[in-house]
Amino acid sequence: MYIYDEFDRTLVAERVAEFRDQVGRRISGELTEDEFKPLRLMNGVYLQLHAYMLRIAIPYGTLSSRQLRMLAHVGRRYDRNYGHFTTRQNIQFNWIKLEDLPDAMADLASAGLHGMQTSGNCVRNITTDQWSGVAPDEIEDARIWAELLRQHTTLHPEFSFLPRKFKIAVTAAAQDRAAVKVHDIGLRLHRNGAGETGFEVLVGGGLGRTPFIAKSIRPFLPKRDVLSYVEAILRVYNQFARRDNLYKSRIKILVHDLGAEAFAREVEAEWQHIKDGPLALDPAVVAEIAARFRYPEYARLDDDPPELTQLRKADRRFDAWLCNAVTNHKVPGYAIVTLSLKPEGGAPGDATSDQMDAIADLADRYSFGEIRVGHDQNLAFPHVAQRDLPELWRALDAVGVATPNVGLVSDIIACPGLDYCSLANARAIPVAQELTRRFRDLDLARDLGRLHINISGCINACGHHHVGHIGILGVEKNGEEFYQITLAGRADERAELGTLLGPAVPYAKVADVVEEVVAAYVELRERPNETFIETVKRIGVEPFKERVYATH
């Protein structure tokens, strides 16, 4: 856990006071909706189709049980008893009233939660691998760097009115679970030939209307330079990116227009001026931040305790869940447990207030009071003793978050779409719900292996459809909802954009088409463990296209 001190608490409290004043001015009519808009957008408040929506940051996806209970409380008291976890380690409340917002913010602030960096043209909530600090394949805890960057960019005097929103992700593991290549800046912590750790800096990734995979502009940046280098990138971006066209103002367009090399030269030139200034990181500052990440006092335990092996033999459901939702931990005898927020027929990423409370209680019992939020819209318990897994499984099952579909076809990522979002062209959640019904057979899902479906309700791509193994994008055709399907995108360390399957299909057909695609894969794969993306890579989309459009 990251422990807030009086600085953090003071800032958040002052933020609430400011927002209360701004809401007061809006209610009294002193501010028009137009004038209020940029102010609410600096606090995570959006105006959606039916109501205001409040987006709360969960920096680097780490929550304490107390914070999760506070989210449950806000859902219960000010909303309709639930919250929606997004793909960027935020939670959204969809039905909040304007006059309740200051009180809701004050309640959240009492647990160290806030809406800073969740909206507006600033540096957004900095995301990381949701398993940071416990993943066996990481070289260090990426959250320390995310926290340093979070602090540096919060209410930044120069970068709070950028051309557009700006997203940074950090990973420190061999496997990229933070999708750094589809961020404005991706930072990949790795070890160089001399054994030192530093960052590969990637820029200009992003999805939306013009998707790009990020370009590497610096293979190795010493850690002391990370703030100054990011500052240099932001300064170049702030001054030179386009501001005349909303769709061309992200850094990916600037990098593309200038070319990655010319962009890198601008950044280097700027950086030379500031690299040895106040932003050069003092090891004592880093140590101070690192010291406020607390790790549990793990017990000395062995892997695979007998109670586990016994139940695996005795109970097939338990074994299936364990194989699917439980991952290796750095520390022997412990495990990382993913809680699926993708039950059959559910809206991806939604959790009710009662579920959040129950999960918080279980986290206290079994995960040292800590919960993680991943970009896959699932939760995780990062510190579970393996011997507790049978008990925990029963308890999670009772809460409805033990569906063993993590990373499988029914673990669908979807944006809110036309059910909530004022920008949407088409529904996303009902498509996801229908697909979870079509693929309810968990044996089939297991047989299909890793298969990520991502759904966005419009070209803004909040559901990351470009990088879904099967991507589904809602478009509008003559006032009706249609969907474009892409195949074999991926968001990991080998990130790639998906390839279009063919003409868009109407709402009523989209689940059928996805079923066809999956059936085609089962026939076309070379061997049972050739994954979906491997098959598409090997044979291309053509055979899938033929089959789908022949039948429809």
Binding site: D5, F7, D8, T10, L11, E14, A17, E18, Q22, E35, P38, L39, N121, Q151, H152, T153, T154, L155, H156, P157, E158, F159, S160, F161, L162, R235, N238, Q239, R243, H273, P278, A280, D282, A284, V285, E288, I289
Partner: protein, 190 residues
């Protein structure tokens, strides 16, 4: 529009000189960037203070050779959403050491006051007269900041270290943010 300087509403001493008019004798002037650059030597002979109105899409490095002879640089925010001049302000203050008047013009609204002062502006040309009264509270709203910037505050990281008495090995010596906040707020009167 009212000008706020050091927390006080002040009259504008300067006149804006349009592109071909001669600078009026003995009166401080603000000259558009293009004209200034075309004729800097001549203009700098003016017998009163000279300021330049600099657009937000031109590199301030071009002004660097003249900064020690300029009394004022006016930067512009065509809309409050266009934040390019924040970078220009920090560069002028922190890189080029400009110590003259740095004026924020354009759509300057009260909810930007804090950002502007922190970026190094000392004079704000406020768009809505009603926002003037909000200046003291806008500056007092926050007492801590995570990052140091142009106005010389201490970052939270440094204050933390100072508090935990770990020796500080690098970084400028600044007043604490609460001292600065108090002195800024104390200076505000009309």
């Amino acid at each position: 529009m009212p000008l706020i300087k050091n927390g006080r509403v002040v009259a504008d001493r300067y006149v804006h000189v349009l592109d071909d008019a001669p600078p009026p004798d003995g009166i401080p002037v603000i000259i558009p960037a293009a004209r200034f650059l075309a004729d800097a030597a001549e203009i700098l002979h003016h017998d009163a203070s000279v300021g330049v109105a600099w657009p937000n899409d031109r590199r301030v490095a071009e002004l660097a050779p003249y900064l020690d002879r300029l009394a004022l640089v006016a930067l512009v925010f065509p809309t409050f959403k266009d934040g390019r001049a924040y970078s220009q302000a920090r560069l002028l203050r922190e890189r080029y050491g400009f110590r003259g008047e740095l004026r924020a013009t354009g759509q300057i609204l009260r909810d930007q006051f804090m950002f502007l002062v922190r970026a190094g502006f000392d004079v704000l040309d406020v768009a809505k007269p009603g926002d003037v009264d909000a200046f003291p509270s806008a500056l007092k709203r926050y007492t801590v900041f995570y990052q140091a910037a142009g106005e010389g505050r201490t970052s939270a990281a440094r204050l933390r270290l100072a508090r935990s008495s770990v020796p500080i090995t690098r970084g400028p010596e600044f007043a604490t943010s609460s001292e600065l906040g108090a002195s800024l707020a104390g200076r505000v009167s009309r």
